[in-house]
């Protein structure tokens, strides 16, 4: 990509060294520093959620045959899985890609100096911190055992700091809205000359679609959670049948947000995929338009499918029919994207480095997650599979096999840009492969036990399911090991890694046109764009 930047002059002071001291970070309005703070925070919450997952799986290692031989009591177990879900969804995955990588690379990618509202950006971070502290406080003050879905009437009647936890989710929603709003305006208003919509990197199309959902859907969650808090605190009967409320209404409200939220979680991961498969194969994206437009299509249709979480909630047969049909419609754009990424690899120059290995893991795991979704969108089979471990396996293949894998692909892809250093390639590859194996060992058996009838959210189970649980729990140790390795080589990279050049992968998008790590104002002069982000040369010339 042509720019006015000259890359060979001496390294200048980067955003990391531009200002010194802890305060220079805490009150920064530099999108890059805010991105790094978000990155550190979401890595910490991921570690917390991961430890909770290890504990949940440890309890499930064996069934409790006599009273007292359990690792955790039912009440503790229920708090553990609830907290695991809440941490992973609200504290990790929703902010992960947009707030960490989106913040860092979005302005760079469009050739801007910062986001449109830098102060709002900093505010969004502190709102996130406040929400996190509230959630941790609720955990220490007894914890909640409602499941991350907060279904009424249980959540309205059970004792414990439910209101505090609900308010934490409410506050976190604002952080998400602020970020979304900021990104929409930035993409509309701050693109460098020549950066047309058709030249926008696909990562940004995905972030753009995500931001729209964040801004439109999150308020519904906020209102729902407020209604729940009002019912609990003031006895206003909205969901409780004893007070004249409707217990199923909560589920409609909740999923009206949370189904689109599933796309808040996956679309950014899809955006990352388009960057990884092109750059590390030196290949033009196959079907740029189809990928960009399918993100928008997903964003729109995702608002119309919430009822597929409720096929057995007593909704009418015809409501079930419509929701099932729309669910299949929204599946098509996702399938198209996967096929486009695979086709992109055709004829490429594929480097099997860490970002590419994570990208290939995504393709395989997300395919399994998506294909198994067909069983769940189909009415007759969902009746059997709903609320069993089949569902647990399915959404982990999508959320972890999709988004989390893409997140770590992005971490390895943008790491040299963010910190100006390379990491040990060998260990990075080992970690990626180990994760892939451990993930499948953990979650594949859950499909089988689920379709055999094992319900989810059970702290104890029948002996016939033991073998599946044992395999699954062993897999978590492999996953844990892969992350321990990752922490070691990334820390070593920060302290003693080889210096990264401005563009170590030979990528074409603008973030690689400035030095690594970038200077505080990103570019000396606003660059002018004359090419698309994936215009790689062909062997033997054009």
């Amino acid at each position: 990509m042509a720019t006015t930047e000259t890359l060979d002059h001496a390294q200048e002071v980067s955003y990391l060294g531009a200002k010194k001291g802890i305060m220079s970070w805490l009150v920064t309005i530099d999108h890059k520093r805010i991105g790094v703070m978000y990155l550190a925070s979401v890595l910490a919450t991921f570690a917390l959620g991961g430890i909770l997952a290890l504990l949940v799986r440890a309890e499930l290692w064996a069934p409790n045959l006599v009273a007292g031989d359990e690792l955790f009591s039912a009440d503790i177990y229920n708090r553990l899985f609830t907290l695991h879900g809440l941490v992973m969804v609200f504290l990790f995955i929703i902010p992960s890609v947009p707030a960490a990588f989106g913040n860092f690379v979005l302005p760079l990618m469009i050739g801007a100096k910062d986001v449109a509202f830098p102060r709002l950006n900093l505010a969004s971070y502190y709102v996130y911190v406040i929400g996190t502290v509230m959630a941790l406080y609720a955990t220490i003050a007894g914890g909640v055992d409602t499941g991350w879905t907060f279904y009424t009437p249980y959540s309205a009647s059970v004792s414990g700091p439910v209101v505090m936890m609900v308010m934490a989710a409410f506050v976190l929603g604002f952080s998400s809205i602020f970020t979304g709003l900021n990104f929409i305006v930035t993409i509309h208003k701050m693109r460098a000359p020549g950066m047309t919509w058709q030249r926008l990197p696909l990562f940004l199309w995905a972030i753009y679609a995500t931001s729209i959902i964040q801004v439109m859907a999150t308020p519904v969650l906020g209102i729902t959670l407020c209604l729940l808090a009002m019912e609990r605190a003031m006895g206003i009967g909205i969901f409780d049948p004893a007070l004249g409320g409707d217990p199923v209404l909560f589920q409609h409200f909740f999923w009206f947000y949370s189904h689109p939220a599933v796309y808040i979680m996956i679309l950014p991961g899809m955006g990352i995929m388009s960057e990884l498969v092109t750059v590390h194969a030196r290949k033009t994206i196959f079907g740029y338009r189809a990928i960009a437009l399918s993100s928008i299509a997903i964003a729109v249709i995702s608002f119309l499918v919430w009822g597929h979480h409720m096929f057995v909630s007593g909704q009418s047969v015809y409501a079930g029919m419509i929701f099932s049909f729309l669910t299949f419609l929204v599946a098509i754009p996702s399938a198209i994207k996967v096929l486009n990424w695979v086709a992109t690899l055709y004829g490429g120059s594929i480097q099997l480095n860490a970002p590419m290995l994570w990208a290939m893991s995504f393709l395989i795991l997300f395919t399994i997650g998506g294909l198994t979704g067909i069983f769940l969108g189909t009415l007759a089979t969902d009746v059997h599979l709903h609320d069993t471990y089949f569902v647990v396996a399915h959404f982990h293949y999508v959320m972890v096999g999709g988004t989390v894998v893409a997140f770590f692909g992005a971490l390895h892809h943008w790491w040299p840009k963010m910190f100006g250093r390379m990491y040990n390639e060998f260990w990075a590859n080992v970690s990626a492969v180990l994760f892939f194996i451990g993930f499948n060992v953990t979650f594949f058996p859950q499909f089988i036990m689920g379709s055999q009838g094992m319900p989810r959210r059970y702290y104890n189970y029948l002996e016939e399911f033991e073998i599946f649980h044992k395999i699954s729990t062993s897999g978590t140790w492999l996953i844990g090991l892969s992350f321990i390795i990752m922490v070691v080589y990334l820390v070593r990279s920060l302290t003693s890694g080889e210096k990264a050049s401005a563009n170590p992968w030979g990528a074409k998008s603008l973030e690689w046109a400035t030095q690594s790590p970038p200077i505080e104002h990103n570019f000396h002069e606003i660059p002018t764009v004359t090419e698309g982000p994936y215009d790689f040369p062909k062997a033997g010339g054009k």
Partner: protein, 315 residues
């Protein structure tokens, strides 16, 4: 893969209801479709990864093809047609699952944290669902407290059970035998113990059973009580070995002095225990939450007697 077997298959539990086979046929179809697409996609990835692997640092791509209308149209419309076919198939089987035939034998199901009870047309209340084989049975379900969900894997039926609203499921069991019932809507500490059983009997055996009352043949009253302790869901909150759960342990309770949250202490005789089961809030044991559900209308007198007999044996 699932086939017409009584033992079940690698993926699926036994097919014990008339429509289980239809559900499994669809499951199999989707399964093989998944296998096909998975192998195709993974195969392509592995093949490309080997064939186009970068061998030297300056190696460029040999193709820069950016789109191909024919291919893109094909992989949009072919999957679309396939999923529409699956949708139609799934909806038709679902209609069979949802709509009970006229004249089905009706049993009322009551869910309550953490037990199921079944009320028969003659008013008898049971902790196990006893049904005749080869007869359509329709369950009309409601919850007394939270959301629960009634799931019989062997029958491929599931429905949430909701307070203040009726939901239904129906099935026709194929052979005599026993099938597990799970609660699949999370309902708190006793959720994973909220199980029950469907017992399918031949029609003559079922009619015989309908006439009987009292403990099953050859079982003492105390043994029946022990069975009801788990069957009626008491085990979720009461231990019998002195250990702590939501409610007091039953070990040594009979005949002991009980301290009350309010009012004078009470001696735990038959009348007190009976009252504790039917109107638990009248006298709440000191140190415990008033969370014991009432079993009024859920347990017959004979069963309450059996439970009390059982408590007497726990010294």
């Amino acid at each position: 893969m699932a086939s017409e077997t009584a033992q079940g298959s690698f993926w699926m539990p036994p097919e014990a209801s008339t429509f289980a086979g239809d559900v499994d046929a669809l499951f199999d179809f989707i399964y093989w479709l998944n296998v096909f697409f998975f192998v195709a996609i993974t195969g392509a990835i592995v093949y490309f990864a080997i064939k186009y692997r970068r061998k030297s640092d300056d190696q460029l791509a040999t193709s820069q093809v950016g789109h191909n209308t024919l291919i893109e149209a094909a992989w949009t419309f072919i999957p679309l047609l396939i999923v529409i076919a699956i949708f139609v198939w799934g909806f038709r089987v679902y209609l069979d699952q949802s709509v009970a035939p006229d004249g089905a034998y009706e049993v009322k199901v009551t869910a309550q944290a953490y037990a199921w009870s079944y009320t028969y047309p003659d008013g008898r209340v049971e902790q196990e669902l006893v049904v005749p084989e080869d007869t359509p049975v329709k369950l009309v379900m409601a919850s007394k407290d939270l959301l629960h969900s009634f799931f019989v894997p062997d029958f491929r039926v599931k429905s949430d059970v909701i307070p203040g609203r009726y939901t239904t499921v129906w099935f026709e069991a194929k052979d005599p035998g026993e099938h597990i019932v799970f609660c699949t809507e999370y309902c708190g500490s006793g959720h994973s113990a909220m199980m029950s059983k469907v017992v399918v009997k031949t029609v003559p055996e079922f009619e015989e059973w309908l006439k009987s009352s009292g403990p099953p043949d050859g079982m003492s009253l105390a043994d029946w009580g022990a069975q009801l302790y788990t069957g009626a869901g008491c085990a979720a909150c009461h231990s019998v070995d002195g250990s702590q759960r939501v409610g007091p342990s039953w070990k040594g309770v009979f005949g002991s002095e009980r301290k009350m949250a309010e009012g004078p202490a009470v001696k735990a005789d038959e009348n007190y225990l009976r009252e504790s089961i039917l109107q638990p809030l009248n006298k709440v044991v000191a140190g415990y939450p008033p969370s014991m559900p009432s079993y009024q209308g859920q347990l017959s007198d004979a069963k309450i007697d059996a439970l009390i007999e059982y408590m007497k044996t726990l010294k």
